[in-house]
């Protein structure tokens, strides 16, 4: 399955905007994860603007597709996608990490139906997703799919493999897991810190259908998700291993653990935004809203 040109351009634009809004959110909120937000921008773009059936005006509509961001620190990208999809006013994102604003880690109370669960600790979201998938089976809802996005480092957690085991035990082929295999964890490269290879074999051995794609290639992502939904429904859960670049789109952040969690100061944010627009062939555009002189008494960084 290939995207037509119009869709391709639309999704490319969305992925670009997800990155822009992520930077704005993180800078303004003075906390957040650029690396893991950027690596899944294309994945979220395809999901929310092509593949998933969602109802932003009736967000809890029963036949919606569900998405659980297990790597809940990737919240900026997800909040951005939801804002762009019309779940709430875009201005909301400027209350990222503020009291009564959008929580630093995705929280169910922040965007009902948009954020389906509460997170923060890694390795738990696939269990929640499996529970939802079981629940959909109980309700005889054959249409909805449950998408779960995992980090690669996150798969160090044993809870992930417990969930993987139970999902195949229960034949949850309405469950589609996407691993954002961006090669880096919080503090370095994954093979250095705690290797997960042979990764394809692990999922196979846990009874899953496995596909591998370039996670920044919209066509490949779309093709794999389409196949997972429509072609491979054989009683096994599906995983798409999406090979990505952590921090993709801003040179200093790419594969660089220093930008795993780090809020740029306003000047750096402005430069990053300009670089992004050039990378993605857009007109150079910095940060408009931010007052560069502003300097709240709080942490920069967030390590």
């Amino acid at each position: 399955m290939e995207l037509n040109d119009k869709d391709f351009e639309r999704l490319e634009e969305i992925a670009y905007k997800i990155r822009r809004l992520s930077i704005e959110m993180i800078t303004y909120g003075k906390w957040g994860h650029i690396g893991g937000s950027f690596s899944m921008a294309e994945i979220l773009s395809v999901l929310y603007f092509k593949e998933m059936k969602v109802f932003p005006d009736d967000p809890l509509h029963e036949s919606r597709d569900r998405l659980i961001l297990s790597k809940a620190h990737g919240s900026p990208a997800l909040y951005a996608a939801l804002a762009l999809r019309g779940y709430y006013d875009k201005e909301e994102i400027y209350r990222y990490c503020e009291i009564n604003g959008l929580e630093g880690h995705t929280h169910i109370a922040c965007v009902p139906g948009g954020i389906e669960a509460s997170g923060g600790p890694l390795g738990m979201g696939l269990s929640v997703s499996a529970g939802i998938a079981l629940g959909l089976r109980r309700k005889e809802n054959p249409r909805s799919r449950v998408y779960c996005i995992l980090g690669d480092g996150e798969t160090n957690e044993g809870n992930v493999w417990e969930a993987a085991m139970s999902a195949s035990h229960y034949h949850l082929d309405n469950l589609i897991c996407i691993v954002d295999y961006n090669k880096a964890m919080a503090k370095g490269l994954i093979w250095e810190l705690m290797g997960i290879e042979p990764f394809y074999d692990k999922w196979k051995a846990f009874g899953w259908n496995v596909q591998e794609v370039d996670g920044h290639n919209l066509n490949e992502v779309y093709g794999a998700l389409y196949k997972a939904r429509w072609v491979l429904a054989n009683g096994k859960p599906n995983v798409v291993i999406a090979h990505t670049v952590k921090g993709k789109g801003v040179e200093r952040a790419e594969f660089n653990y220093k930008w795993h969690t780090h809020a740029p100061d306003p000047v750096t944010a402005d430069a990053m935004l300009r670089e992004l627009s050039i990378t993605y062939g857009r007109e150079p555009l910095g940060y408009s809203k931010l007052n560069i002189k502003e300097n709240k008494h709080t942490f920069y960084g967030g390590e």
Binding site: A117, P121, M124, V128, A130, G131, L134, M165, S166
Partner: protein
């Protein structure tokens, strides 16, 4: 303990599950390879399609419970209390409590009377651990009818609930029409010299202690506080400000648990001498039930002796 009901509390648990299962179609049961021990096997037999086996993987079971609750079901993810509180705590805390989901957690095999499995299986920290988490309600039943009332109340209460189930045939203190209300205690016996505040199966021990005390000429008030969180502050304060001293008794560690919930209320409004009966900061070894109650100084006579000590302190 001769007069105990012949029905173990875990059997009463099974009966209540059947009743609730009949009344709530969206109630489901999740197990981690222990259903014949917890006696949930009876529920499985009656409602096989509402019973989910998760194997020996507690973290996943509690995570999946969150997912099922999100979809509108009322899951009972069930395992021994030690594993609920110690093995899956991040899942219970963040996936369930922080998200404030409608999950009911039975903790089985609590406290001292838990076969002879020893330290790893006798749950003494679960009250302290669960109490530390926001949003969750906690109850410890005195008897089978109390357990059933608690389980009914849990179904009527949205949000996470943790309740304890002893592997034990406890003395029945209540009628079958007994009602349970969150945050409400019950004066079982009035008295003037000291208040014995019990939760769980220790309430019956408090009643026995009050008889021992009566023989020595002391009049003890006995209060049952099945609802540990929220706890009935008013009831505690009313009784304690009358008697002027108190004992708490719980089938758990005295650190951070029920006794400390009581202390908070007391110290806030009417400070009195108070001693806590329970496991005193040590792991429980393998051994016989009665032997262990004695070793850990949790018998009625220990409650009575502690009561005399606080009565004497107050008189000074």
């Amino acid at each position: 303990m001769e007069e105990n009901s012949s029905i173990e509390m875990r059997d009463a648990f099974a009966e209540a599950l059947l009743e609730i299962g009949g009344n709530y179609e969206n109630m489901i049961f999740l197990d981690a390879d222990l259903h014949t021990s917890t006696k949930a096997s009876m529920f499985k037999k009656r409602y096989p399609e509402r019973f989910y086996q998760f194997g020996i993987a507690e973290q996943n079971m509690f995570g999946a419970a969150a997912g099922l609750a999100i979809e509108g079901f009322i899951p009972f993810p069930s395992t021994f209390a030690v594993f609920a509180s110690r093995r899956a705590l991040d899942q219970i805390s963040i996936s369930i409590c922080y998200a404030n989901l409608n999950v009911k957690i039975p903790g089985s095999y609590v406290g001292v009377p838990t076969s002879r499995a020893g330290a790893s299986h006798n749950s003494i920290e679960d009250i302290a651990i669960m109490r530390s988490m926001p949003n969750i309600k906690i109850a410890d039943p005195a008897s089978n009818n109390d357990l059933k009332a608690i389980m009914r109340a849990a179904m009527e209460t949205p949000g996470p609930v943790y309740f304890r189930v002893a592997r034990y045939a406890a003395k029945e203190l209540f009628g079958s029409d007994h009602k349970f209300t969150w945050g409400k205690g019950k004066v079982l016996k009035e008295g003037l010299d000291v208040t014995l505040l019990g939760t769980g199966i220790m309430t019956a021990f408090c009643l026995e202690a009050s008889e021992l005390l009566a023989r020595d000429g002391f009049s003890a008030e006995v209060v049952h506080l099945g609802s540990i969180k929220p706890v009935d502050r008013q009831c505690i304060i009313d009784s304690v400000s009358k008697t002027g001293c108190a004992i708490t008794a719980e089938n758990a560690s005295v650190i951070g648990g029920f006794g400390d919930a009581v202390l908070e209320a007391v110290s806030d409004e009417c400070p009195v001498y108070l001693k806590k009966i329970g496991v005193r900061d040590r792991f429980i070894e393998s051994g016989g039930m009665d032997e262990l109650f004695t070793l850990h100084q949790m018998q009625p006579v220990d409650i009575a002796n502690a009561a005399i000590a606080v009565i004497n302190s107050k008189k000074k």
